[in-house]
Every structure is written in C-alpha cells, then in structure tokens.
Symmetry: C2
Subunit: 196 residues, 2 copies
Amino acid sequence: MGKGEDTRNLILEAAVAQASEFGFESLTIGSLAERTGLSKSGLFAHFGSREELQVAAIEAAAARFTEMVFAPALKAPRGLPRIRALFDGWLDWTVRSGLGHGCPMQAAAIEFDDRPGAVRDAVVWHYERLERELARAVELAMGQGHLRPNLDVAQFVFDMLGVIFAYYHGSRLMKRDVSAARARAAFERLVAAATP
Amino acid sequence: MGKGEDTRNLILEAAVAQASEFGFESLTIGSLAERTGLSKSGLFAHFGSREELQVAAIEAAAARFTEMVFAPALKAPRGLPRIRALFDGWLDWTVRSGLGHGCPMQAAAIEFDDRPGAVRDAVVWHYERLERELARAVELAMGQGHLRPNLDVAQFVFDMLGVIFAYYHGSRLMKRDVSAARARAAFERLVAAATP
DNA sequence: GCATGGTACGAACGGTCGTTCTATTTGTCA
DNA sequence: TGACAAATAGAACGACCGTTCGTACCATGC
C-alpha cells in the first residue's frame, strides 16, 4: 500500500504517546501536526474528523496493548502461568512500549465514560474484549486444575482489574515505588484464595 | 461575607457538576459563564486564572466528598462499622451528591497525573489526606480488636482503593448493575482476610 | 441621600480550535 | 518517461479560548 498508510501510522504513534501523557482531549489537529512535522490540513486529510482520529488512536493503543501484553502471554503455558504473565505484562506495558506515561486506555475510559459517541463505544468495546479474554484465561486455568472449579470467574476478573487500577493510581499519581510490590502482593493473595 | 462569596460558591457548584460529567479540562471560562448566567469577565474576576478556578473546583469537590462520606462515617462506631460506613458511602457518594456522573476526584487524578502544576498538587494532597484518614480508621479497628493486629495497614488501604476503582470502572464505563454487588463481595473478602 | 467599594458587564486582544477549499508537490505504474 | 492519482501544503473561515481593560451597577455604611 501507498505511503499514506505509513504517514497515518506515524501520526497514530505520536497520538498514542501524546494521549498517554496529556489525555485524548489533548489530541488536537494543530498539536499533532506540529509534533509530526505535517501541516494541519495534510494531517487532517488522513482522518475525516477529529473524532475519527481519536477513535483511530484508541484502536492503535489497543493494538499496542495486545502486542505487548496478550501476545507474549500466549507463549506462557495455559493456566496459572499465563495469568501471571498477563498480570506482569499489564503492570508495566506502557513503560516497555516507550510510552512512559499513564495507560492511554484508562485515560480514555475516564474521559469518555459519560460522553456517548464513537470514541466511548470503541473504548467499551476494547475493554469488553479484554475482560472476555481474561475470563477465558481464568477458565483455562480452572480446566487445568490450577484454580478451583467453583471459582466465580467474573468476580476474579473484577478483583484483578481493581489491583491494576490501584497500581496505576499509586504509581502514576502518587509516584510511589512501593506500588508494584503492593500490586503483586494483592494479586498473590487473590490467586491463593482461588486455588483449590 | 458579601455576595461575592455566594456567587463564587455557585460557580464552583456548577464547575464540580460539569467536571463530574466532562472532566476538569472541560472547565472553560466561557462554558461556565453560560452555565451560571454570568458574563465571562464577571466569572473570571472571581479567580485570577483558569488554573486557580480548576484548583478551587478540586477543593470544592474534596469538601463535598468529606461532607458526604467522611462526616457521616464518623457517626458510626469506631472500628469495623466505621470502615464499612466509609466504603458504603464511597460507592455512591456522587449520586447522593446530585452529581450523577463519575467521581470528579478520580477524573482529576487521571487527567493531571502527568501534568505538573497547582492542580496536580491539589489532587495529590487530597488523596494523601484521604488515604491517611482511611489508614487511621483501619488502625482504630485494629485497636478495637476488629482487625488482626499484624495487618499491613497500607496494603489494606491499597486493596480497598482497588475495589473502589474497579467499581467505578464497572459501573460508570461498562454500565454494569452488578458492579456494586461485586464491589461488596470483594470488600467482604478483604475484611474476612483481615479479621483476627 | 450620598459617597464608597465590591461586583458584574461589554468589548476587544491575540491565539488556537476544527474544518473547508484550492494548489502544488510527490509517488506510482503503464 | 509521461500520465494520473495520491499525498501534502497553504490560506482562509467562523467559533471559542484565556485574559485585560474601562465602565457601569448596586449594596452597604455614614
């Protein structure tokens, strides 16, 4: 495909980085044009509107998450090891992605949770997919006998999300180095309560 | 004090409501002027800058949280009942406050976690206070014998925050009615693991 | 009843916003 | 290489941004 595709990907890379630091509301045509060295109209031509640009940035962030967290976890043996790999990868995927600032998906989730529209729909869609995949990994672990068979899967996913969110809060806002250790401790207690 | 104080409070009430729905980045002089029926310059005169307005809105939101969550919980007997009161009040304080949209403090936490400045400082300050008060309540419960004496207080606070954040995620973004029940179940498991 | 000072208004500033046009450059393929 | 399409630039638009300034209102204390 043409060179337009490359430019588009370059723009989205810059967009995800900027959203990680300043949120999706900061994704303006002008600031992204300056960041990428394009003209406003040249950049705009790749997307029909600002909203489409934001949606594309969500998709790009989700793709990066899949690549950085899910794909590596699939290499771990199914069951508890894979769940651990998911959790570990989830904790620092933004840093390993070179984003170095907050998780863009969570930023989008907060920014758009009360704003109906295409962006919100995209965020919800990706979180549903994420939680579904997570639930599937838990069920696999139950099938392997790593987790007890009467485990409430949705509750386990809920609890695991809580640990991640508390970690983001502690590390990104409060800048506490101890947050990673706290998150791992919480996760281990969660697993211990779910083993047969 | 004069009528200026009243107007200022009216502005801040509108600001907190708007931040609950659209975030603190949406707090523009123009939109708030229209919302309150004031002129732009008339509203602006109450604050030296937009940033000061945002800080004042943070303070107002924090004051509302104290009034709606902490103050009622202090009426509960110290120990576990008070912690339960804090948790219950925390879950739906925005609804009882007439905000009806997301928790403004969490929105501010995400929006400003990577943006140094007065707003971020205010957010961090209030979360530190909140977690300190929470830790004090836990210590009181340990003193009462409701929680085991070797409990890791900071870890308990971390876990409790996680439950709250997971609840906000489930109820505000994913619009799942079951989130409150999941949050209560998670909290009860947390308490059960912390009792002597 | 009148001065005084806090309170609000209206107009204007330079800048940025998203978006729309029309050119112009650039890349691709016969 | 030449033709044609894709990709980018440039200028302009109306709207809104935060902020400043000069002026009017209006409540209060004498």
